[in-house]
Amino acid sequence: MKIPIAFFLSLIVFSTANLFAQNEFAKEFIFATKLYNEENYYDAVTECKRLVFFDSDSQYVFKAYILMGKSYKMGGKFSDAILNFTNAELNAKTSGEVFESKIEIIRANILRRTTDRALQLLDDLDKNGNFSSRTDEINYWRGWTYIFAERWKEAASSFSKIDSCEQLQQLCMQVEKDKYSVTFANLISHFIPGAGQIYTGNYVSGFLSLGWNILAGYVTINSFAADRIFDGLVELNFFWLRFYNGNIQNAQKFALYENQKISNKALNYLQFQYNGTKP
């Protein structure tokens, strides 16, 4: 009877000692999280580094690296964020933690606009049998990756595989529908100067371009017809060709510009008004 009591008492003592040690790391992690929540990201990283340095049992190392990665992400330092998420992955102890760190890496790649890398990582997750129950999440981030890669049709297709993402699917489909065809604008400008610019809604520029091309053409042909070959060549090179090439350049430029405006409208909505999870 005496020995079990003594044994039980000593167990309490040792547990208290150990608990005290673990409480210090927990306190430190709570402190780092508090700094993160106060948007004091630089100092949050400092405290996480302290925790990683001293936590030889690696109880909090994974969480510390994740918090560091998030801090760097909030500071716009995506490459550093990815490094820390990778460290988190290396220190992950469960498949849940591995998945969490991989998703964080993908999100940072999306924000960094290294979308090819993000897509590659998503494909790796798909092929990994351990994460077959998390297909919805993978498709969700695949959709976001396609959005940032300006591949709105594929984004819509990814979101269509998830039941709760109809809003995102509709948004992507609408953007794809609203966009102008740069190739078409370019092509019609070759045949009718100014047509490409009118197609993209730049009417003033389009009609000016048409007018200049008509005038230049008339003057050039007139010169050739009057046997003033040198004059004709000068007018062709420095007048007509200049405005003709300008018309094609503008058609392409305006189409790209209008498409960027359409994309940015959607991207601004997603950043500031959309309530779901964002990169």
Binding site: Y41, G75, L83, N84, L111, G246, K253, N264, L267, Q271
Partner: protein, 149 residues
Amino acid sequence: MKLFFLFIFFTVVVSAQTDWQKWGKANYSYALKINNEQRDFSFDSKNTARFVLKSALNSYWFFISDVDGDNCSFSPTCSNFFLQAVRKTNIVQGTLMFFDRFTRDMDIYNKFDHYPEVEDGHFYDPIYLYTLNQKEIKYLPPSVVVKTE
């Protein structure tokens, strides 16, 4: 195992350099960066000469320059260079600077060995190099890529 530690060491050292200055929350945007220079069609009412000059430039930009494409390999463009030169110096010196700039623009020889570049691919050629004030000249080697606001 060695490679693992080498990777960790390398990543720690590389990321350390970012933190040589305290940083805070970044206001990054999802939006794409649009490289479309918007013209300033305002009128300069400082004096009559400037008003006439700016009006002439506005007309040139509206009727000709915005329609005939991107023909100037420099940044700022020749017309902008002329405007900035006249504002900085006077009409005579500004005109001389413009004619010199136009000569350099006509030069079809390799510009890559002479001028630094701007992000959009144009050659960086600002007016402070040509005001005949040597103290204002900040030399940039041709290999440099200049970021404009």
